[in-house]
């Protein structure tokens, strides 16, 4: 806490001007406007970069280090654009499984679960990606992916609902956006102690890299635990057996950490048993969650 406070103070002192530049560049990127740069092609810039001094919101002065108490300062449109950018990148690494019925099925289950959340009307998108990895991903704005490797291990629709509920929770709580804010803050700090950045374009260039960094590092452990608690409840709200998600965690929890298919998952998440222990603790002494349906017959099987 003290360290965080120190960084925040440093940031406030050193990056007031940079924060404005970087933020402008990020907005340009996210809103799809061409970053107006000195033209190398002989075409004059559409509009001279005569920006008024950007208004500075308190959260921006601290470069987002307060992001865990404050709402990330992205508009819905910006959030959507971040999500699309990252989703398109993930699909570049692993395309959708070529099975229309499967994809439609996962979208029906996912949307039904998402309807029970605090953001029912996002343009939710769900996809099964063609990878033997065992993992699932959420991206800002309502993009959720599950790998074929994980999907194949599911035994019921309730288990799918639990996994999707966990990812939906990340979106609802904007966990990635909050972490992105933090990494941006750290980038700001680096720029401040190093050489001055010019025009903010370095951030634009590094934006996707920063986001992959978020994925590669994984979220805060508490964010994962929160998503587990919410995932169980979201599935239960949707009428499913609440224990689908724990069942999946048990199923993958006994896979060896040396198994390449779970290496990424285990690296970016607390160990499944730790997550199960957390759920046990969260459930202890509370009224039992109502019984729900497992829905085994309808689960769409993949080859």
């Amino acid at each position: 806490m003290m360290r965080r406070g120190l960084i925040a103070a440093l940031l406030a002192a050193m990056t007031v001007t940079h924060a404005a530049d970087l933020n402008r560049a990020l907005r340009e990127l996210l809103l799809g406007q061409p970053p107006a740069q000195p033209s190398a092609m002989g075409t004059p810039p559409q509009q001279p970069q005569q920006q008024p001094p950007a208004e500075r919101r308190p959260g921006e002065l601290l470069g987002g280090l307060l992001s865990f108490v404050a709402e990330p300062p992205y508009s819905a449109e910006e959030e959507r654009n971040i999500g699309r950018t990252v989703a398109g990148g993930l699909l570049g690494a692993a395309p959708l499984v070529r099975d229309d019925q499967l994809q439609r099925y996962v979208n029906r289950v996912g949307r039904w679960v998402a309807l029970q959340s605090e953001r029912p009307d996002l343009d939710w998108r769900f996809g099964v990606i063609d990878s033997e990895d065992i993992n699932a991903f959420a991206m800002p704005g309502g993009y959720v992916f599950i790998t074929k490797g994980l999907y194949r291990r599911l035994g019921s629709e309730a288990e799918l609902a639990g996994v999707l509920g966990h990812e939906i929770a990340h979106v609802v709580r904007k966990h990635h956006l909050r972490l992105l804010q933090q990494s941006r803050a750290l980038a700001d700090l680096g720029a401040a102690v190093g050489k001055r950045m010019q025009g903010g374009s370095p951030l634009a260039a590094n934006f996707l890299g920063n986001f992959w960094e978020v994925f590669a590092r994984g979220l805060d452990k508490e964010a994962e635990h929160e998503a587990d608690r919410m995932g169980m409840v979201l599935a239960a709200r949707a009428g499913y057996d609440a224990y689908g998600l724990p069942a999946v965690l048990q199923e993958i929890g006994h896979l060896s950490a040396n198994d390449g298919r779970v290496a990424f998952l285990f690296k970016t998440h607390p160990h499944p048993q730790e997550r199960l222990d957390h759920l046990a603790e969260a459930l202890a002494g509370r009224p039992e969650l109502p019984e729900g349906k497992e829905v085994r017959q309808r689960l769409h099987r993949v080859r």
Partner: protein, 181 residues
């Protein structure tokens, strides 16, 4: 075959035939064996932390287990499924990807033939794929369709609060029976 709690396996059998899912676990906490999958069901016996159990079935948050010759229902989250339930091959055992290594060596990852998952490097190198994104958009499902889909299986929405974070925000193994300080 797909579920680990398909019953009837023994430890010896698992040791020899590693290609099947084990339905075996260990109790993480002292537990009462109950006659049915409910906290209000009659207690038929006790089982101790560390006891090896065979998992016969799961129902909601409960598992039917057999331990020391007795059968009963215990809370699912009191059972840790044992390693070895997964198909294990020699290549797996070679142990290739170091957990927690920030920069995994891609050549070492590849060494698990056919088992390699998505890697950080693959993600970083990936090109934005607009075509796949458009395909994804084509599968979008609206509210009405989702609600109709839910009704087919009699899934009805229920008002439930999220679970609060545990008071002590740390995961501990033996928490069921602990009094709150």
């Amino acid at each position: 075959m797909r579920r680990p709690w398909v019953g009837g396996l023994t430890a010896a059998w698992i040791a020899v035939v590693s290609s099947a899912h084990a339905a075996q676990g260990v109790l993480l906490r002292d537990e009462s064996l109950r006659a049915a999958a409910s906290a209000t069901a009659a207690v038929t016996g006790q089982a101790a932390r560390g006891n090896v159990v065979e998992v016969l079935a799961r129902q909601g948050g409960w598992m039917q287990v057999r331990t020391n010759g007795r059968t009963g229902w215990v809370r699912m989250l009191s059972v840790r499924l044992s390693e070895g339930g997964e198909r294990v091959s020699g290549a797996d055992l070679a142990g290739v990807v170091g957990l927690g290594t920030r920069q995994a060596d891609p050549s070492r990852v590849v060494a698990v033939a056919g088992m390699r998952g998505l890697t950080e490097q693959e993600l970083r190198a990936a090109r934005f794929n607009a075509e796949e994104l458009a395909r994804l958009d084509g599968y979008a499902v609206g509210r009405a369709e989702a609600e109709a889909f839910a009704r087919e299986e009699g899934l009805a929405p229920r008002a439930l609060a999220y679970l609060p974070a545990p008071a002590r925000n740390r995961s501990r193994v033996n928490t069921w029976e602990e009094p709150q300080p």
